[in-house]
């Protein structure tokens, strides 16, 4: 598979994301929310900077994740709906290269969105005089991108099985409730029967645990946490890549034999 056609497809996804201005709208809303956090005056300065970090990072994570889910889920249904897929797939490009290009485009658009949030966040941090724990912060960003990759590939796969609305809804539910589910299972595990525990373990292994890739809490309380070790980062990367590869492979298998 040649990289240039993949990049061309990715570029078209990025161009759409940029020209449709949805990303800017999301960033604007998120900026207003982050700005609102900065006006809170019932904390002393240190409390305020922590509160700012906590809320701002959460807003950034959620907004970027939802952006990526929507972008990824709509790529293929939109191509079918507008029939733009026909002239595209009439060119000498394989279905796999097309899919890789779409994924790369979604990831680049997601990273662009995240980059915009970072600028807003850093401006806010500078305004409040809050120090940025750079090492931990870089790890947080990196693992967020790994998590976005899982969400993008999952949304791709879902968009082949379901219609656009259903794919977005399930993708969003999966993201929003993943953390709740992990917390819930942690609490109930000890009070469950052996069969229940077995089932919980199966679910935990079968479904990607997105909370593992979320370092926002550590970044908020950075003074209490050292950056993760390289081996841990490598393991988390492999964990993310495993699920991404799994979902992407399923999407590619589906798409390979899908009549256009």
């Amino acid at each position: 598979m040649k990289p240039y056609p993949v990049w061309l497809i990715a570029k078209s996804v990025l161009l759409e994301a940029v020209r449709r201005r949805e990303i800017y709208a999301i960033v604007l809303v998120a900026t207003l929310l982050i700005g609102a956090v900065m006006t809170v005056d019932f904390f002393e300065l240190e409390g305020l900077t922590k509160f700012y970090r906590e809320v701002a990072l959460k807003i950034m994570s959620v907004a970027t994740a939802l952006t990526v889910i929507v972008l990824a889920a709509r790529q293929l249904p939109r191509e079918f709906e507008t029939r733009t897929i026909y002239p595209l797939m009439a060119k000498p490009i394989s279905r796999l290269a097309f899919l890789c290009g779409k994924l790369l485009g979604v990831m680049v658009a997601g990273a662009f969105c995240f980059g915009l949030f970072m600028v807003v966040y850093l401006c806010g941090a500078a305004y409040l005089g809050s120090s940025v724990p750079w090492a931990l912060f870089a790890q947080y960003i990196y693992l967020q991108i790994v998590m976005l990759l899982i969400l993008a590939t999952l949304s791709f796969w879902l968009s082949m099985l379901l219609n656009l609305d259903a794919a977005i809804t399930i993708g969003a539910i999966f993201y929003v409730f993943a953390a709740t589910f992990t917390t819930l299972t942690t609490y109930i595990y000890d009070f469950t029967s052996p069969i229940g525990q077995f089932l919980i373990r199966v679910v935990i292994y079968a479904v990607p645990q997105l909370t593992l890739l979320d370092l926002s809490e550590k970044a908020v309380h950075a003074q209490a946490w050292a950056p993760l070790r390289f081996a841990t980062m490598a393991q988390l990367t492999l964990y993310g890549l495993f699920f991404s590869a799994l979902y992407f492979s399923l999407a590619a298998i589906w798409f390979r034999r899908k009549p256009l």
Partner: protein, 313 residues
């Protein structure tokens, strides 16, 4: 240009394409066989739902044959290799509304393996050719349906392909657009490119094509060179009064002669015979009362064939 050791550009053999499953299974293409040779311009005609678009989509690899085979330039239809030398215009297509015309052609050209310098040289000329000169930097959301169709033609030609597959060629074009398109096609045909297209504009097919393949209910109804097909459809009528003891000349004997009172009506089905028949009749002293030509269009012929096929059990 399109030559490949004399092999067919398009080869469809006993192609069957079915949609749906179980009770809802529908056979859209039912054992279609035909071939398109290098440099030929072949029209693919049929009523709506006849199986034209399904066949063309199979050739492009968008859908897969249930049985039979489809090959393009010797490669199995749908493979990257089979699409390398093909330009395709889909039946209905919109183009990314957030892109400019130039960006779209850069995308399609790049996917076809063209370099940036090649694209820079080709795009303005190509847009000029399809009547979109000066529209390079206009967003496609501002394009009308006709302009989109012209752009579609441009994208199919961007890589200067050896063969073109056009599904519903003049769909969405106004008469001026159709005229321009015909000129482009004639130019392509004269440059030796292979063209395979479907159209409901049968006059267009008649004037452009070397050969036609008629399809009805997923089956080939007729396949013939246009000239051969149209020859017997052009009838020449001679109405004359035969002299006493008139014997029909040999040149006229193989045509349709009908007696109508003291007059005779001869229908000559072959233009090549017509002058000879006239001179032989005159030589035998007949009094010619009237001559007329009756031209049956491809459309009339097509309708007649389809009706006949419909009436068959």
């Amino acid at each position: 240009m399109s030559e490949q050791n004399g092999a067919s550009v398009i080869e469809v053999e006993n192609l069957v394409v079915e949609y749906g499953k179980g009770a809802r299974r529908h056979r859209a293409v039912d054992g279609v066989t035909f071939a398109v040779q290098p440099g030929e311009c072949v029209g693919f005609i049929g009523a709506n739902g006849a199986g034209k678009s399904t066949t063309m989509k199979t050739l492009m690899g968008f859908i897969f044959p249930t049985s039979g085979s489809a090959r393009v330039f010797g490669h199995k239809a749908g493979t990257v290799e089979s699409r390398r030398r093909i330009g395709y215009l889909p039946e209905v297509a919109l183009y990314y509304p957030f892109m400019k015309a130039r960006e779209l052609l850069e995308l399609y050209g790049g996917l076809s393996g063209l370099s940036r310098s090649q694209l820079r040289a080709r795009i303005p000329a190509l847009l000029e050719k399809v009547g979109l000169g000066g529209k390079e930097n206009v967003l496609l959301r501002q394009f009308s349906k006709g302009m989109q169709q012209r752009l579609g033609i441009a994208q199919s030609l961007i890589a200067e392909p050896d063969a073109l597959i056009f599904d519903e060629l003049s769909s969405g074009l106004d008469p001026l657009g159709r005229y321009d398109l015909r000129q482009v096609l004639l130019e392509l045909k004269n440059s030796g490119r292979t063209i395979f297209f479907s159209s409901h504009e049968l006059s267009e097919v008649e004037s452009l094509c070397d050969r036609i393949v008629m399809i009805h209910k997923g089956r080939v109804l007729k396949e013939a060179p246009v000239a051969e097909l149209m020859k017997p459809l052009n009838q020449f009528e001679v109405v004359f009064v035969p002299p006493a003891g008139f014997e029909i000349p040999e040149s006229a004997a193989r045509h349709d002669l009908r007696h109508d009172g003291e007059m005779c009506r001869l229908l000559v089905n072959d233009i090549d015979d017509y002058p000879r028949v006239l001179s032989d009749l005159t030589a035998r002293g007949v009094e010619i009362r009237r001559t007329a030509s009756r031209t049956v269009s491809l459309e009339d012929y097509f309708i007649e064939l389809v009706r006949e096929a419909e009436e068959k059990p």
